[in-house]
Symmetry: C2
Subunit: 141 residues, 2 copies
């Protein structure tokens, strides 16, 4: 069975990240798969009339990058996602390089629960922050 | 400017929803756009070895349906997403019909903030719940 990290391989402070440049095609694909066709994401003429002055990515696309780090790197496959809080702090614009980073904040050995700080950054500025709770697999389970 | 509902058109208890059947192609598209290639979502042979006994959708895909209701229906275009909490309660399987529903829970007239209860249901069972906070536009702004 393909496996990420087991609970006992995790330590507070451990961190993992991915960086992706958000292209117009990504925003269009996300609109398609989610059904979120809000013109703030798709229609440049409309988007120029909004406070953001141009098309922005779906906030949930940045959240999806956080989930990608959890699901592929830390803890990776085998972990079960229990909860996530998300604060959308700044807009993500087309062409922005988004770094999604997760950092282990607390470990609950009794429940095999891992609390992670979750962040998305663009050029060093926080665009999204929050906290994830995942159930990490045990080697002997 | 294309516009959803203004703050003063909102009332506690108001509700909107969408239903989408999660196809294998949706899960594959979501893996592509997010980078979350966890085999629990993509590899049926692997997924049969997990506690879920088969491929499941990304939790964040159900969350994206919630964001679609907020961005297209209630409040719709013009609203600004401030925060979202997500509890992943049950897995979503390929072929499941997911209803994402948002319900206005509280209105803060001073800040134009709207708190919404956010739910995803499959055959009447809650698969995802949480709360959203959005800034709704003012007619005179």
């Amino acid at each position: 069975m393909q496996q990420g990290l087991y609970f006992d391989e995790l330590a507070v402070g451990q961190s993992a990240e991915i960086t992706r440049v958000v292209g117009a095609a990504d925003v269009e694909a996300f609109a398609e798969v989610s059904g979120d066709t809000n013109p703030a994401h798709l229609d440049e003429a409309y988007a120029q009339t909004t406070p953001f002055g141009g098309r922005i990515a779906h906030g949930m696309l940045a959240a999806a990058y956080v989930s990608a780090v959890l699901g592929t790197k830390l803890p990776g496959p085998g972990a079960i996602y229990l909860s996530q809080s998300l604060r959308f702090r700044r807009p993500v614009k087309i062409g922005d390089p988004v770094t999604a980073r997760v950092t282990v904040k607390a470990l609950d050995a009794k429940k095999s629960h891992v609390t992670l700080e979750t962040l998305c950054l663009v050029n060093g500025k926080t665009v999204l922050d929050g906290e994830a709770l995942v159930l990490a697999p045990r080697r002997d389970a």
